[in-house]
């Protein structure tokens, strides 16, 4: 059996959901972060699938853009985490509650 577009789409939908669940349930910012990356990469899989089955190059160009942007996002995110590390000892998403209201 050769895999069809649907197979790839279901795999990417599952990956996306796993990423979403990860963001919503995990507390370590680095893991939350990795989950977001997982979501972005499942989107990449979707784009490549469509690009292949529609024979249109747009999807592949989109993947290049997403990859570059994801890297920039990682750098900004890590920079923010590092700068928080410098003022706090440990870091937990639930601990960020300086502001309430």
């Amino acid at each position: 059996m050769t895999p069809s577009a649907d197979h790839f789409l279901v795999v990417s939908a599952i990956l996306f959901t796993l990423g979403t669940v990860g963001v919503l349930t995990r507390r370590d910012p680095l893991v939350v972060f990795m989950s977001i990356e997982l979501m972005l990469n499942s989107v990449n899989l979707t784009f490549v699938t469509f690009s292949h089955y529609l024979s249109s190059p747009d999807g592949q160009i989109f993947v290049f853009i997403i990859m570059t942007v994801a890297a920039a996002e990682v750098v900004v995110g890590l920079a923010l985490i590092v700068s928080i590390f410098q003022t706090r000892q440990r870091i937990d998403v639930d601990e960020l509650d300086e502001m309430r209201g």
Binding site: M39, T49, S83, M99
Partner: protein, 502 residues
């Protein structure tokens, strides 16, 4: 890969292409110049970067003025457009950026930042916003959104010594990139359903040319629309995706809060109108109920939460949520009148909302408590000009005539009534009656309650004074003589109608 290699591509990118993105190029080049200035110019003469930013913004504005009279054109194979709709938003964003720079000057002086980085990031986010308004394909929209978001994450967390600011930046980063993932997945599915990332092509496809029949019933398209609504709703902080807004607004440096509260919404709404009212117009029946619910929840909860705030920045954050709801109402009209109302609303919103944040920022750069509403007691005695102007901004936000906010709200309501959804208009009117209470409360504290006898004087720098004066002139001017700007807004929407053939 095979697809890429097989395509014979004749690339012709000429001067007219670059001309169409002139304002963006000017500001983009300035970002690089500012970085070099920051690296090479000695610390004591770094005020020069304020002037470089202002000059670049004025140059970009002149280019916007030139492009408006020049007529619509597409650039880079229709990826980017410089139609009047995009140009109008460019103008709003540049004006907001100028106000933010004027406001930032005394803030920068009172802290120990490298101004070059600060202004470079501010201008980079402005470029992202302008590209977002000009983006005519899903690719550019995503790229522009990320450019503006990445710059704003850093700016929100710019005060590295303040835990609040860091928390603000990090929260904004996590939630916003989560929303970006939804948005981009939605874009992927829409691409899968229609076979194109170009908004105009998607629009034609859904209207039934060159696409399989029943494409508007394609499940891929439906999920795609749903996910895009979630992504966009996050970015415009619509209920139930608004949780980040008050925290981020409170923690971020005040000039940045003022800037982002107006311009991110403007940029995202520009894309919202272009994508939903025009490109996905044929799928109107699918996105309407979703956005209807979001708009109603946004108006009701935004205003109710605002009632409970004692911190000016948080109050304005929730008021911003509520205003997002009114603008969504204009969008839901799904008519040229509605789109015009969105365009006009942002012009008014830029002056009145940035204006309202100015008080906080000016008090802070005086070394006083800026964001606690009870600390405004006796402001009328300390600085009548500032208190008077803030009163104008708050009245305008409440929608009291004859200020700009009244006419903006009126246009939104007229459009939705015309489209036959009176229930939305009624909810909007009732909720803005609630809003009058929390805006007036601030005015009462400022003007009627006496302050301490030996209160410090509140002084303003020349630039801050200019910013306040310009905002007040804009707020009153747009309220008294709105016709000229209303006509400009109409023209900008006409440009969209021609582009999409609707």
């Amino acid at each position: 890969m095979s697809v890429l290699a097989a395509a014979t591509i004749h690339v012709r990118v000429g001067a007219s292409d670059w001309g169409a993105v002139g304002p963006e190029l000017i500001l983009g080049a300035t970002v690089l110049v500012l970085l070099l200035v920051d690296a090479f110019v000695p610390r004591r003469v770094r005020e020069v970067s304020t002037w470089i930013s202002l000059i670049a913004l004025v140059a970009a504005f002149l280019d916007v003025y030139f492009l408006w009279s020049h007529g619509d054109s597409n650039a880079l194979y229709g990826q980017i457009t410089s139609d009047k709709f995009a140009i109008f938003f460019d103008g709003v964003i540049i004006v907001s950026a100028v106000l933010a720079v004027l406001l930032s000057e005394s803030y920068i002086v009172s802290s120990s930042f490298d101004p070059g980085e600060y202004y470079a990031l501010l201008l980079a986010s402005a470029v992202g916003m302008m590209l977002m308004a000009a983006g005519n394909s899903l690719m550019i929209l995503f790229l522009a959104l990320e450019l503006l978001s990445l710059s704003l994450y850093i700016l929100a967390g710019f005060e590295r010594s303040s835990p609040r600011s860091q928390e603000s930046g990090f929260k904004y980063f996590l939630l916003s990139s989560f929303a970006s993932a939804f948005l981009i997945y939605g874009m992927a599915l829409i691409y899968g359903a229609t076979g194109s990332t170009q908004l105009v092509a998607i629009g034609h496809c859904l209207h039934g040319s060159g696409c399989p029949a029943n494409v508007t019933e394609n499940p891929l398209l439906l999920v795609g629309i749903g996910l895009m609504v979630v992504g966009f709703a996050f970015k415009i902080s619509a209920v139930p995706f608004h949780m980040w807004t008050p925290d981020v607004y409170e923690g971020a440096p005040t000039p940045i809060t003022a800037f982002m509260s107006v311009t991110t919404k403007a940029a995202v709404f520009a894309a919202f109108v272009r994508v939903f009212n025009f490109s996905l117009n044929a799928a109107h029946s699918h996105w309407f109920p979703l956005l209807w619910g979001v708009a109603v929840a946004t108006m009701i909860f935004g205003n109710l939460f605002a009632l409970a705030q004692s911190n000016m920045k948080r109050m304005l954050a929730y008021s911003g949520v509520a205003h997002g709801g009114y603008i969504l109402v204009a969008l839901l009209a799904n008519s040229p009148a509605g789109a015009t109302a969105v365009v006009f609303y942002f012009l008014a919103y830029a002056f009145m909302n940035i204006g309202a944040f100015m008080l906080v920022s000016i008090l802070e750069s005086n070394g006083q408590v800026g964001d606690d509403i009870s600390s405004y007691r006796g402001l009328w005695q300390r600085n009548p000009f500032l208190a008077g102007c803030t009163t104008v901004f708050l009245f305008s936000l409440a929608g009291i005539p004859p200020f700009a906010g009244f006419f903006a709200k009126y246009l939104a309501l007229a459009a939705i009534v015309q489209a036959g959804h009176t229930e939305l208009a009624i909810i909007a009117v009732l909720t803005s009656l609630i809003s009058v209470y929390y805006y007036l409360r601030v005015v009462v504290v400022m003007v009627l309650q006496p302050g301490e006898v030996q209160a410090q004087e509140t002084r303003m720098s020349g630039m801050a004074e200019m910013a306040v004066t310009a905002s007040v002139a804009g707020t009153i001017g747009l309220g008294i003589i709105p016709t000229g700007f209303y006509n400009l807004a109409t023209q900008s929407v006409d440009a969209l109608r021609t582009a999409f053939g609707i």
